[in-house]
Symmetry: C2
Subunit: 320 residues, 2 copies
């Protein structure tokens, strides 16, 4: 665990997304001593409502400890959030992210520091973006040796593949895999037939992943690969209980197949999977299936990343 | 227009799909003399309800002309329809389709002939299928010279690419392009921002198509290509009024890109686009954009196909 320099006060880290709000009170030894979770995602709030809602949710901590530094990450720093923090361009290091923050003093005297997202300006056709995931990556990077080179995968609604070199996020790519899965299993021809699965059907999942990674024209074309959920039913090779996990395997397998085609990892190479939405186990299964090594699998590194940025900023403040 | 042999009676062709019912009364000269359309798609009906509903909808024709031959195509012949007609395997000719029909005598003495769908057993990972589109293709094929070789594209919810040689459907591939468009513009992150477009925004559409056919790893990976609708907004390169047509161009462009990768058409080659859902103009735009020739564009060939199958069967009946 990263340590807060002796003598500094408690700090608060908030992860404020589209649908949820999470806050962590971290003591002067770097230990999380309290947490708050609420459904006050930014989609439910308008301008002028953010500060009162924040002070309401973490008010007890501020009453107990006085004004604190509050580090905010997630969609709260987007165009649709409280304060839009411009993206920091890749290659982006811990220091670059720290310098890209925007600060604001709240009515109680607390200082809120909004963390930036990052952008990959080399992407086609438009610069790719992430906002929140970069803090998770930084949380992983600070645990790596300075010269470690690594491909990091963050599963999710909009999953990310990122390349890290010398402690710096060099470039990355977004795949809307999780959103496609949700759309297809909720609203499509697959949804009409699929029996919801409560626990993973490993055989069906791996069948989907193997199909997607077979490197045939019909599996590389996602709009054809998806139709195999129907043709597999008609051929009596898939049952309604298989469909959801077959589709999950096919979509995640397709993501790996396209990541290989994009050069994010070489055949036989290794990936680091950072946990998100409980999907890291599924991503690890596909990685193993196609012969990739898994360097690390970490559950939650966002807090470690935010803490590292906090320490960097507090060090800079002391120097200034 | 194909002609009914002299002396034969009127016939009825019905196109009975998941959501709609359409019937055509065709006179002994092959001319459509009356039509009926209704919302009685098979999704609204159960076993035992098909015959009464059919007799109700075309009853006035049977009263006027007596018992007739009724040729039925569409999802009515599927596992979820009235009578499941097994798929005929590719390569499939007019004669093969005729032999694959299933007949049934109705309570008024009319004979209903259910047309089969076709299956491409060489597809990966499962045999691909179509049910209804093959009748459209046959309607096109009978207008071609016997030795014409052609790639036929049928745009739609689940669009099809088919190869025709010597009057035979040799093989085909399904892309669920239209369904993905509907899902993304109704329920996804794109739906939240997009301003519905009433008429085609050609610039946005062609921008999407050009992006998808640029043959870059990021455009060939559909889950990344789709995210460009968001990054284009963030980069101020796309407006809410552009999003729907940008996405339409991107998805149809991706379908062409993957069809090229699958060998359905060679660069600089030609395609025949059969009309469906008003999409043939969009498909033709993409074909032209990437340098393909368009051999023909026909609006509705299903009736011609059904009539050809009817004539083939009636000739066989006379011979027998």
């Amino acid at each position: 665990m990263t340590k807060t320099p002796a003598g500094t006060k408690h700090r608060i880290v908030i992860d404020w997304g589209t649908t949820n709000f999470r806050a962590y009170l971290i003591d002067n030894k770097g230990v999380t001593v309290d947490e708050v979770e609420a459904g006050s995602g930014i989609q439910h709030l308008s301008e002028g409502e953010y500060e009162p809602e924040l002070l309401r949710l973490v008010g007890k901590w501020l009453k107990e400890h006085g004004a604190l530094k509050i580090y905010a990450l997630g969609m709260i720093t987007s165009r649709n959030g409280w304060v839009e923090v411009p993206y920091v361009a890749c290659p982006a290091s811990l220091k670059d992210l720290s310098k890209g923050t925007i600060r604001k003093i709240l009515s109680d005297g607390s200082e809120i520091i909004f963390l930036p997202g990052i952008t990959n300006t080399g992407s086609f056709p438009y610069p790719d973006v992430m906002r929140g995931e970069e803090t998770q990556i930084i949380g992983q990077v600070i645990q790596m040796k300075p010269d470690d080179e690594s491909t990091i995968v963050l599963p999710g609604t909009h999953s990310k593949w990122a390349k890290v070199e010398n402690g710096t996020i060099v470039q990355f790519q977004t795949f809307v895999t999780g959103e496609l899965f949700a759309l297809l299993t909720t609203h499509s021809f697959i949804a009409k037939v699929a029996k919801p699965s409560t626990q993973i059907n490993v055989d069906a999942f791996e069948l989907g992943a193997r199909t997607a990674t077979a490197n045939k024209p019909q599996s590389n074309a996602l709009p054809t690969l998806l139709f195999s959920a129907r043709t597999g039913m008609l051929a009596n090779q898939l049952s309604p209980a298989d469909l959801q996990d077959y589709l999950s395997g096919a979509l995640i397998g397709h993501e790996f197949q396209m990541a290989l085609a994009s050069g994010w990892v070489q055949p036989g190479g290794q990936v680091t999977i950072l946990g998100n939405d409980g999907l890291n186990d599924r991503y690890a299964r596909v990685a193993k299936l196609i012969g990739l090594k898994i360097a690390e699998m970490a559950d939650d590194t966002a807090l470690a990343g935010a803490t590292a940025i906090a320490q960097e900023l507090e060090t800079l403040d002391q120097v200034a």
